[in-house]
Symmetry: C2
């Protein structure tokens, strides 16, 4: 039972520009059929957990990219699932994870800036796959936030793509680094 | 004539803890003789430019690690060079670079958090080599700062070391990304 992050970030650690735009990401020249490991990754998880802002951003893309149930964290959205969303949840990371595991979702994809930062801070991320895009945005929505203590990581795999993207998968090894 | 950065950073983009400490870096288990490309890099530069804080931190290490002249940026240190320092300079990045090139130092190693951030913001960094250490510090001295505009980079080389460090060399391709 593993909580995983799979996300692209600029070299300076942003996952979106300040206004949320992803042009620096969507504009990357990508060979046909290259998904940077996304489909393989999706096979390893049972459900996706994301914040409301990320959910609304994904909805705006038009095409729904998820093949697994998506749970949205929100204190304002109606509780009843609607549209593409399998459920709306609220609470601390510990409660969210416990609740989803009781429903049989053992391996979770934790997605979206604020949600990743909250789960990381609370110690509920086990694996991080970051695809580093060769750009400095200079400002934006940060991937990482303050932590109460350092976290030692274990580099499990590095893969460099011909267009310069570098995907690194880390396992969380130890809190208190 | 190239201005280069060669620096280690945590995955969350810090080059030192908040109190300046580098235990997370100096504590890395490194095979004997492995310098992560440092000696090769030093051959490519003519002089080092660093801020006062970095200079004082390096002095505190005991052993002086530089085989090229080191110029220290400071508005408070005495102008006359002393000890290990080849000269004390003050001014904007453009003036610093111009002055050193007039003295025959064409290829500069720009070092230290504040200095790297200032030179980057002013458009005076041409190449960035970052060695990403598998740790999240959660807070500290940031490598990257706000930029007036994005900067497109070109990944020239990625190298993964057996202990999980990932060294990536980027050329600055274009400002305005």
């Amino acid at each position: 039972m593993t909580n995983r992050v799979f996300i692209a970030a600029s070299l300076d650690g942003y996952i979106a520009r300040r206004d949320g735009s992803l042009d620096w990401l969507t504009g990357i020249e990508t060979p046909e059929g290259e998904d940077y490991g996304y489909a393989e990754f999706m096979k390893t998880i049972d459900a996706v957990v994301m914040g409301r802002k990320t959910y609304e951003a994904v909805l705006s893309f038009g095409e729904w990219p998820y093949v697994k149930p998506v749970f949205v964290l929100s204190r304002t959205l109606p509780r009843a699932p609607g549209g593409e969303c399998a459920g709306v949840l609220a609470g601390e990371p510990a409660e969210i994870v416990k609740g989803l595991r009781e429903k049989g979702y053992g391996n979770l994809y934790i997605d979206g800036g604020r949600t990743v930062r909250e789960f990381m801070r609370a110690g509920f991320i086990d694996e991080l796959t970051i695809t580093v895009v060769p750009v400095l945005l200079g400002s934006g929505v940060p991937l990482f936030g303050d932590l109460p203590q350092g976290i030692a990581l274990n580099n499990k795999e590095t893969k460099t793509f011909p267009n310069g993207l570098v995907r690194i998968t880390y396992a969380v090894e130890r809190r208190g680094a």
